[in-house]
Symmetry: C2
Subunit: 218 residues, 2 copies
Amino acid sequence: MPDEDQRPPERARRLPRAVRERQILDAAVRVFSQHGYHSASMDEISEVAGVSKPMIYTYLGSKEDLFGKSIQREATRLLEAIQAGVQPDLPPDMQLWHGLRSFYRFVAEYRESWTVLHRQALTVGGGFAAEITAMRTRAIELVAALVVAAGTRKGLGEQTEFSGPGLAAALVGAAESLADWALDHPEISDGVLASWLMNLVWLGFNDLVEGQVWKPSE
Amino acid sequence: MPDEDQRPPERARRLPRAVRERQILDAAVRVFSQHGYHSASMDEISEVAGVSKPMIYTYLGSKEDLFGKSIQREATRLLEAIQAGVQPDLPPDMQLWHGLRSFYRFVAEYRESWTVLHRQALTVGGGFAAEITAMRTRAIELVAALVVAAGTRKGLGEQTEFSGPGLAAALVGAAESLADWALDHPEISDGVLASWLMNLVWLGFNDLVEGQVWKPSE
DNA sequence: CCGTAAGGCTACCGGTGAGTAGGTAGCCCG
DNA sequence: CGGGCTACCTACTCACCGGTAGCCTTACGG
């Protein structure tokens, strides 16, 4: 029985607003992550979303609004994914370990979310860059707290309070960079990635705490 | 000497082409580093350079050309600055140490060069992103070579050849992230920054080589 | 002092893409 | 069955900005 009911473009489905908004946001994240904010056009987003352009404006507002809402949704996802994996009553190294694993699991699963957060969000002048930077700063401070906690545990409070923030910034950067690297090496599991970082950084940090230092020879 | 005439708008200086090109490139790097590629307008660049827009087109070509030449000049500067500080016959850790110091010295001195290379160059779809990524990959491979060299020196060739590239990616990311952090903390010297990284990463790596590993407790 | 080339400018064009006006089609309820 | 509301679209406007045509101005060699 062939399709007697002709429906030329398969459109006119009249979905509820919430569904459309999700579709539009999905499309926006995908297109923004591929082309970046400026090169992404509302026309392409509307096409990918399977929706006409005015819909985007009536539902989500201007291009900047849309980008902001995309960022916000993905950032929330990332934060929730990490928080879901971490238990705050564990020792610092175990917290870091679990946080890292959750992070790498998230990046592998939501590549586009990660791309748009990490690479594209900074390219828009104005509030978003600030917002993202603030979020990253919070992450660094969190890690710094772990580092300082581990340091004071071992009685080296003052030293780690001086270098802690810098070390935390370095560690976060290392984690991000390794995440990018891992995108091209999907065969490496999140556990391996996290353990690499732990071994690199945490062992070195432990040595530091125990008074061992590297210094230029001669 | 009666040429004490009035020169109303201070213009019409008729400088040689090479000088103008330098002025334009300087202005381009500054504007690109502030606004990014897309948001930067040729009008603003021409204004900052103290030159009219057609000059840019006759001397340096299109906007994309201009961006490419800016990137190229700054990349060359960075590479030369690092190569000037490194001696290839030293042991791996000392090479890394000197490379890092040169890098942080460069970033402190040429903030805008660093910004445009690190943050903005990726935002242009096409050849530049590839070029920059390639350059970064070269840096990672260089570091990976150092890491593997240090590993085989101690008889751990196979292990480091597996994890070396990932570790190098992490280390490069850590260095970059710490560079960004250092922009907000100019009181920290390049020596301190480099030694933080060396202590974090190199000590940890040493431990690894010597068979010590971190692993999740319980 | 004239020719010519190089330095330099003002004033415009045209494409692109964000944002909108105004209309149509399906659904619900009296 | 009709009024009205919501989902949804086509087709447009308009500003901005990359790029250029064409002209003026100074330096200098002969």
